[in-house]
Amino acid sequence: MSKTLDKKHPNNSHQEEVNYITVDYTMKSWFITKDHKRIGMLYLATVLVFFFVGSVAAGFVRFELTSPTGQILESETFNRMFTAHGVVMIFFFLLIAIPAVLGNFFLPLMLGARDLAFPKLNLLSYYLYLGGGLFGVVALVSGGVDTGWTFYTPLSSMYSNSQVVLTITAAFITGFSSIATAVNFIVTIHKMRAPGLTWFRLPLFVWAHYATSIIILLGTPVVAITLALVAVERLFHIGVFSPEYGGDPVLFQHMFWFYSHPAVYIMILPAMGVVSEIIACFARNRVFGYEFIAASSLAIGGLGFLVWGHHMFASGESYFQAAFFSLMTSLVAIPSAIKVFNWAATLYKGMIYLTTPMAYAIGFLGLFVIGGLTGLYCSNLGVDVHLTGTYFIVAHFHYVMVGGTIMALLAGIHFWWPKMTGRMYPEIWGKIGMLVIFSGFHMTFMPQFILGFLGMPRRYHYYHFAPEFQAYNVFSTAGAGVLAIGFMIPVVYLLLSLKHGAKAPANPWNAKGLEWEKTDRVPITHNFREIPVVTEEAYNYSIDDEPPIEAKYTKFGAVMEEKS
C-alpha cells in the first residue's frame, strides 16, 4: 500500500521485542499512560466489566418474564433491573465500545500518526468515563433507578423514588468523556494524516469515526443539558418538564431524543466502519463504491439529527410534525441500505476467506439487515401507532444495537486481536462462538417481534391477563441463555490466548493498511519507526495477495514456520 522511506522492513527482529506492552510492566505505567493503544486496552477491559454487569441485569429481566406472574423479584426491583440493563449497556458500553476501544487503538495507526492529537486529553477522557461509571455503580448499589434508561419526565423528575440524580450525574460525566474523545478524533483526522494520505485514501473505518465524532460533538451537550435540567427540577423544583410547575412533559422527550436518536448512529456507524475493513480484507477486493459508503456515513450523521420526533408519534404531536419526522426517518434508511448493497457487491469476484472476523462481519450483515428493515415499521406513522412502546421496538433496537454493534465489535476484536496482543486465537473456536452467538441472538429477539405485534408493552413485569405472551417469552429467555454461553466462548479463548495463544506474525491476514503493513508485530509506543508515506488508495487488494494465516497455525501453542 505504501512505501516507507527506508527499505528495511521493521518486522524481522526476533530478539526480545520492545513494543507498547513490553516497554513497561508496572501498574503505574498503565494507569498514567498517554499511549492511545494502552488507553484503548484500558477501555476494553472496562467496557467488558460493564457489559458483564448489564448482562446480569438482562438475565434477571429475562428470567422474570418466563412466568406470567413474575418469578422472584418485586416489581420495583424488576424496574431497577431493566433500567440498570439499559443505562449500563447504552451509556457505559455501546456508546463507548467501538470508538473508544478500536477507534482509540487503530485510528492513529491507520492515519500513520504517532498518537492521537491530544494524548493527555485522551487519558482524561478515560478517567471521566471511569468516574462516570463509578457513579453509575454507586447509584446501582445504593438502590438503583426505576425510570428506564430514557428518564422520561415527570416520572424521573418528580415521582420516582430512586437514585435518579446519581445516575444522571454518571451519564453526564460519561458524556464529557465522549466529547473529549470526539474532539481528539476530529483533530487527529484533520491534522495528523501521513504524507500522501488524502481524504479519499482514508480507510472507511476512519470516515465512520469522523462522522461519529461529529455526531457526538453536536449531540452530547444537548443530552447533558437535558439531564442536568431533570436534576434541577428534581432537586430544586424549578419547573421545566413537570406541568405541576408549569413545565412541559413532552419537551423532555424532544430534547432527550435529539441526542439519543443520533446516539444510535454513534453506536452503529463505527460498527459499519469495522465491517468495511473486514469484508474488503477477506474478499481480497477493493470496497465497492468507496465514495458512496463514505458519503452515506455523513448522510446518516446529518439526517440522523432530523428524525428524533419519531419516538413521539403517539404523544399527540401534530399531523404535520409527525409527517415530517416519519418522512425523514424513511429516508435515513436509504444510506444504510446503500452500505449493505455495496458490501455485498464487494464480494463479487472476490477471493473469499471465511475466517472468524469475516464470519462475524457476515453475521453483522444478517442481523443489521433485519434490524434496519424493521426500522421501517417504526418509522411508519400508521404502523408505529400500534407498535411503539411494545416489544417490537425492543426487538428492533436490539437487532440494530446488539446485532449490529456487538457483532461488529467482536468482528473487529477478532480481526485486530493479533495486532493488539501479538497472539492468535484458535480459528475453530472463533467460528463456533460466532455460530452460537448468531443463533442465540435470533432465538432471543425474533420472538419479541411477534410479542410486540401481539401487543405486549415493554417494561411489563407480569402479563397474566394475556397468557398468549408466555410461549414467546419462554423461548426468548432460552435464547438469552444460548446468547450468554455464546458470549462466554470468545471471552474464554481470548483470555487463554494471552498466555497460550500462538505468536501472531505482523500481518497474519495479509491485510492492507498502515496498521498491518508498517508496524511491528505488536506496535511500539510511537507506532511507526518511520512515518510512512502513502502512495496508493485504500484496500488495494488483488487476488494474488498471500492468503490469511492457516487455521493450523492459530491453535494454542502452534509455532509458525520461519519465512525467509
Partner: protein, 365 residues
Amino acid sequence: MKELKFSPTQATEYATRHDVLFYALTALVVLFTVLVGVAVLYLMIKYRASNKNVDRTKRIHHHLGIEIAWTVIPTILALIIFFWGLLLFKEVKTPDKDSSDIYVIGKQWMWQFQHPNGIRENNELHVPVGRPVKITMISQDVIHSLYIPQFRVQFYTLPGRYTSMHFTPNVVGKFNIFCSMHCGADHSKMGGYIHVLSPSDYTKWLENGGNRFSKNSESMIKSGLKTFAKNGCSNCHGGADTYRAPSLHGLIGRKRKMNDGRVVIADEAYIRESILTPYNNVVEGYEQIMPVYDLSEGEVLELVEYIKSLSRAPSMFEENEKVYKNTRNHVKNISNSGEINLEMRVDSGVSQSSVQQVQHVSEQN
C-alpha cells in the same frame, strides 16, 4: 400455555387496514432480507478462495448506474410506504363527527373512565359495538399511554394536557387495555379490559347503572353545572358577552382571538387551560380578572363537558332540523320512560347533552 397466536384479533375496521400495511411491510422486509441473504451466500460460495475455476478478472469497484439504481429504488419504495402510513395516521388522528365521548383520567396505577352520563369505571370500559368512540384523556401524575392492541391504537396520556384517540369497535368481545408507557413501580398493573357489547347488552348494562357502586349516577353535565355554579363562574360567564367576560355559549370549535394576537380554536384543551391558567388565554377586548381555581382533573373534565354542551344546542336548532326532530322524538321517549333514561344515549344518534338543552328550551317555552 395456550396455543400460539401470531397476530392479535382485529376488532376494528381500522385494525384490518392497519394489518394490510403491516403485512405488506413484512413482505417487503422478508423480500429484501432474503435477497441480500441469498446474494451474500451465493457470492460467498461462488467466490470462495478454494474455488479457483471462477473468473475473477475485470473486477469493478465503481458503477454509477448500479449505485443510482439501488439508491432510487429503495427511495421510491420508502416513499410509497411513508405515504401509505400517512393515510392511516390521518385516519387515526381524525375522529368521527358523531363519536360519543368518553373521558379518561390516568393515574399511578389505574385507568378511570368517565362516561358523560355519569357512569364511572375503573380499569374496565364498556362500549357498544359499531359506534365510534372518542376518548379524551389526561393524567394526574406521570405520562401513561392508553393502548388497546386489538384496535391497533395507543396515545399518550399526558399530565397537564388533553390528548385524544378514537376507535369504532366492530367485534363484540373483551379486549386488553394496557399502559404502554413505563409509569413507575406497578406499571404492569395498569391494565384492564374493554368490553365491547352488543347493542342490547349495552342497553342492559346502562339500565343496571353500568357499575355496581351507584345506580343513579349524575351526568357529567349536571356535575359540571354544579361545579360551575359552586365556583361562581356564572357571575361573569352568562348567556351573552358582558364587559367582564365572554359568553361560553357556542364556544367549542370557534376561533378565538387572544389579546396577544394569537388565534386559537377553542377545543377541550383550550377550555381546560383557560380554567386552570386563565392568564395565559385572555380573549381580545377583555382584562385578565379571572382568578385561578384549584380544581381536580375530574372536576375540570365535568366543566369541559358542561361548557361543550352549551355549544351543541344552538347549532342544532339553527342548522339541522333533522336532528331537531329526532331530538323531539327522543325527548318524548324520555318523558315517557322515566328518569333513568334521561341519562342514556342508546342509539339515539343525538348526544345526551343536546337532550338536556332541548329540555331546557322547552321548559322556557
